[in-house]
């Protein structure tokens, strides 16, 4: 299991489109993907869950990835966040 903290820097935060993008990437991997924010933990493969985080620009999240392809999954997710969901 690996963990990593990230800051959401794109303008619209985890609104519907970026959240869908994130879920789509998470869904490609076999590993369990959890996202934590302010004590709330959601399944990273669920758009409903990801949007429940109500993450706006500047929010801090923690990814917790567990499974055979955990490193690849974490890299892909972190890249998406760092590249600001390719939106800006």
């Amino acid at each position: 299991m690996i963990q990593k903290r990230v800051t959401i820097e794109n303008t619209s935060g985890l609104h519907a489109r970026p959240a869908a993008h994130l879920v789509k990437i998470a869904g490609k991997f076999d590993s369990d993907i959890k996202i934590l924010k302010d004590g709330l933990e959601v399944n990273g493969k669920s758009i409903m869950g990801v949007m429940m985080l109500a993450a706006e620009q500047g929010s801090e999240l923690e990814f917790v990835v567990d499974g055979t392809d955990e490193q690849e999954a974490m890299d892909a997710l972190v890249e998406l966040v760092e590249k600001k969901f390719y939106e800006d």
Partner: protein, 590 residues
């Protein structure tokens, strides 16, 4: 049906009653509510595999509907509303959500419609309590999706769905009707029936969209899709407006938006009259999520938290724990500002199932509010215990509705003490000695204000009921409601008397009826020495503007001047003159 573009339809101008300000321009959407009783769906299914199949088919069907709605919307509005469709489509494809629903169908044995309704209603509840406006709006998308799925499951024709910005036209709208459509698409409400206090009017003011009530049958005569203009300032209803009329109203709409923008900017300024007298503006709320509106509008606290909707919505008695959670949330988020919790005001027009009395001849003079609570001490004490516990987390005040005698206050104090003893015995922590206030909404309470002031810590004047009881006029009866006005000098005397008695006994007086946000009434009430106004949080901006525009001396003079006027019309005229001389853009104030 093809429309002949060469002969435009004739413009029709009608006049109704404005119940929420603003201008709406758009096409008509006719709404006739299909009735679904979800409790009837709460039956065990004999064939779980079949329910799972139904659910899978409903998802496919709704996904197709969304696809075609989105296409239609994009043709007309570009991608202005794509956020709504994108979220709904994404939710439908959410594997985790689908699995959750399927497992609940398997485990509970209930039919798919009931399970979908329960799970999506819970999700909606979660979103509606979020602080960010964007995520909060998603709650409406979820509730709309819930409705679409239920209709697909029950085979109800859903062609009445609101899937593009429209003016909703209906005979009347109930809370259960308005949850049927996606609020993000409502441009305005045009109804045949309903007053300023109807659900549609209150919802419209909350959403800052216009609403007009016509008063006669009109909803069925308007062709679906007709172009409409609603003038929420004057009550104008224009069917098939000409391009010239549309241009005229677009101009008003723009000016109004500029005005609203300016009002919101002025929210940051202190709440005081021109001469610097501080005036406290508080909020009336009904749900915990409205705390966001309280904060956004810079209210100094909550002057009235109505608790009965929690009882009505659940259709059962909420437990002490459920109530505690809500009260605590409000107290915590508002602290150190006051959170005034009014104990349940059930009865009259709001009945609790199983406790309703169908045979009451005069429900408004009957078994309601504190009378009901004192007769049902277990229900009352459950609420009191929840309040006392929540008081540890903030600045809670208790407010008792519909008091008409000292006995009721004495008995309430006994029950508060009993509720405290019960918590003490159970070893549950709580805070005692909360400020206790009463609603002054019966003539009996108003006339006895001096005596009552020695029993309680504060007064809250409820002008809606006080007006009805002083004038003996049922505000919901169209035959007499025209004479229902708080500007009637008889009502004003009761209000002034209450303010004076409270002030003399150093007991704060708040006014929490619609009158507190009536632009014409604000200077008059200031002249009567009222310093605490509690209202729908969306009215605070304009109330602050009025307060900041008037001089206290002029308000006192106004109050002195109306002493010689004996009709509501003459008094209202005098008040209007003062406001006109001091406040700009008065036409935009509701």
């Amino acid at each position: 049906m093809k429309t002949d573009l060469k002969t435009p339809l004739k413009e029709i101008v009608l006049h109704g009653r404005p119940t929420s300000p603003g201008v709406a321009i758009g096409s008509a959407f006719q709404f006739h509510a299909p009735k679904i009783n979800l409790n009837e769906l709460k039956v065990k299914s004999s064939n779980i595999a079949e329910e799972l199949d139904f659910f899978a088919n409903a998802i496919l069907k709704v996904a197709q509907q969304l696809e075609s709605s989105q296409k239609a919307s994009e043709q007309q509005y570009g991608n202005q509303f794509s956020e709504i469709f994108e979220s709904q489509k994404a939710f439908l494809k959410d594997p985790v959500l689908i699995k959750e629903i399927e497992e609940e169908i398997r485990n509970s044995g209930y039919g798919a419609a009931f399970v979908v309704s329960k799970i999506l209603a819970d999700k909606g509840d979660y979103f509606i309590n979020l602080e960010s406006a964007y995520f909060r709006d998603r709650a409406y998308d979820i509730l709309d999706l819930k409705q679409q799925l239920i209709h697909a499951l029950l085979g109800i024709d859903t062609d009445y769905r609101l899937d593009k910005p429209s003016i909703v036209v209906a005979e009347m709208l109930s809370p259960s009707d308005t949850v049927q459509f996606n609020r993000n698409f409502i441009l305005g409400f045009l109804t045949d029936k309903g007053g300023e206090n109807s659900h549609a009017a209150i919802l419209a003011r909350g959403l800052r969209i216009p609403a007009v009530v016509y008063g006669h049958s009109l909803s069925r005569l308007i062709m679906p899709g007709s172009q409409l203009i609603l003038d929420g300032f004057n009550g104008g209803i224009i069917i098939n407006p000409t391009p010239k009329t549309i241009a005229h109203y677009e101009e008003i709409q723009k000016e109004h938006q500029r005005f609203e923008h300016q009002l919101l900017k002025e929210l940051e300024l202190p709440s005081q009259t021109k001469d610097g007298t501080p005036v406290h503006l508080l909020a009336n709320i009904e749900f915990a999520h409205e705390i966001n509106d309280v904060k956004q509008n810079h209210a100094e606290g909550v002057g009235l938290f109505r608790t009965e909707s929690m009882f009505i919505e659940k259709r059962s008695l909420p437990s002490e724990e459920e109530q505690f959670t809500v009260y605590r949330q409000i107290a915590e988020q508002l602290a150190p500002s006051p959170a005034t919790i009014r104990t349940i005001d059930l009865g009259g027009d709001k009945f609790l199932e199983n406790y309703s009395q169908d045979d009451e001849l005069n429900p408004f003079l009957g078994w309601r509010a504190i009378r009901f609570c004192l007769d049902e001490p277990e229900i009352f004490k459950t609420q009191l215990r929840a309040i006392l516990r929540a008081a540890l987390y903030g600045n809670i005040h208790i407010l008792i509705p519909m008091v008409s005698s000292v006995n009721e206050i004495i008995r309430t104090k006994e029950l508060i003490a009993e509720a405290g003893d019960e918590l003490l015995r159970k070893g549950v922590e709580f805070k005692a000695d909360l400020p206790l206030g009463i609603m002054i909404e019966t003539p009996a309470a108003a006339i006895m204000a001096e005596e009552l002031a020695t029993y309680v810590d504060f007064f809250s004047i409820g002008t809606n009921d006080l007006t009805q009881y002083v004038l003996a006029i049922d505000r919901t009866n169209d035959k007499v409601s025209a004479a229902y006005t708080t500007f009637n000098p008889a009502v004003l005397k009761f209000i002034a008397h209450t303010i004076k008695a409270g002030t003399e006994h150093k007991k704060p007086v708040t006014l929490c009826g619609e009158f507190a946000a009536n632009p014409l009434a604000i200077p008059l009430l200031l002249g009567m020495e009222l310093r605490n106004f509690s209202m729908n949080p969306h009215y605070i901006a304009e109330t602050k503007k009025i307060v900041r525009s008037v001089d206290l001396q002029a308000c006192k003079q106004l109050y002195a001047d109306i002493q010689t006027l004996h009709t509501a019309d003459a008094i209202e005229e005098k008040c209007r003159a003062l406001i006109k001389a001091n406040v700009q853009n008065l036409e935009f104030l509701s």
